[in-house]
Amino acid sequence: MTDNALTPHEEDEALAAEVALGLLDGAEAQDAVARLSQDPQFAQLVRDWQERLAGLADDLTPVMAPARARQGIRERLGHAQAPLARDPNERSSWWRGPWGALLGTLAVAATVAVLWLPGQQPVTGPGYQAELVAQDMALRVAAQVYGRQMQFLMQSGGAAEGRDLEIWWIEPDGTPPISMGVLPRGGDMRMTLPDGMEPSDRIRIALSDEPAGGSPTGQATGPVVAIAELTRL
């Protein structure tokens, strides 16, 4: 479509915005995409729109994905085997050299640190905890932070049938709560805190009652059943 009231320059700008937004259809879309590789100035206009419009995503509250998403990516890229997909007795040769042995030792040390430190008193670094308790559901969940590792331990109770409990991270400044994902049914959960989520004793952690799979909108839709501040260990 050409809008007669637009100058050729405005027409290009509007078209670039439409390409960046994905608003074009059919032949018009094909022509515009073909033009990207032939007309560097037009491609730059599209990139400028992509840069400008990406600021709209600032309004979105970050929502942590469940850990299985990362596992899925690793498996699909061949970076990791599915748990127990590999015979532990099978020997591969990469770790047999001196570097491999050293890396292996470091990897074991790192794994041991990650797996064992959280369950005990912290050896180094600040630690925090929160006890999330909902009386009517007999629910008790312990949240613990060591460095940038955070874990949730289900101690009693759980979500109602067909429902899930979603975990929220609440900053003191009134910004919308950040979803940390859904508490696995009957299981514990561990995660690395992303940049921008800095544990302190002003952070509150909440659990809300949500439809199975968690809030469909990314904001809490169900009642908050438990809330507690992080306290320094």
Partner: protein, 184 residues
């Protein structure tokens, strides 16, 4: 976002480009919650957003080598990939064929100097929100719905009860006004 963080993300992407899995993990830690929110905003469905998020990071792994030359800031590049994959999936749901947005612009080499500095980016972001406020409720709402929810001209036309061409002229003019305001 600070300049240090901007540089950190750029360095992570350049390490991912040469197959560094540790950098890929760190990039995922730093950015996946935001990209997941983008997918959820478009798809409004948890399992689909989670599946799309996986596709997004697979694409990031595969195309990181081409990132350095495209001139986009790192979060824009990542958000654009997430948004495009999510809209692709959204549109494949409906029987009505609609063309998914293209990553093509992000793969065409740029002659422009490198991504903008954090200061300029931060200033433009502030301007964007001010300018959207100046644009007026319905126009700003339409721009947001198109970007954050993948709404099409046909959807807008149905929503506003106007012919598609009228809606299109109206949105194009809104976008031009937005651009003039942000870059003034």
């Amino acid at each position: 976002m600070t300049q240090a963080r901007l540089t950190e993300l750029e360095q992570l992407i350049s390490r991912v480009a040469i197959g560094d899995r540790t950098a890929f993990d760190a990039l995922y830690d730093a950015t996946s919650a935001k990209l997941h929110a983008v997918c959820l905003s478009v798809l409004k469905d948890r399992p689909e957003a989670e599946e799309t998020l996986q596709e997004v990071y697979i694409r990031v792994w595969q195309s990181a080598a081409r990132y350095a030359s495209n001139g986009l800031s790192p979060m824009t590049w990542l958000i654009t990939i997430a948004r495009n994959r999510a809209i692709d999936r959204l549109r494949s749901r409906s029987a009505r064929p609609a063309t998914a947005p293209e990553d093509a612009a992000a793969t065409v080499p740029s002659s422009e100097p490198s991504p903008e500095t954090a200061t300029i980016l931060a200033q433009e972001r502030r301007m964007l929100h001010e300018c959207l406020a100046q644009l007026g409720g319905p126009q700003a709402g339409a721009v947001r719905a198109v970007y954050l929810e993948g709404v099409t001209y046909a959807d807008l036309a149905a929503r506003e009860g106007m012919p598609i061409n009228t809606v299109r002229s109206w949105l194009r003019r809104s976008l031009l006004r937005l651009k003039d305001c942000v870059t003034q």
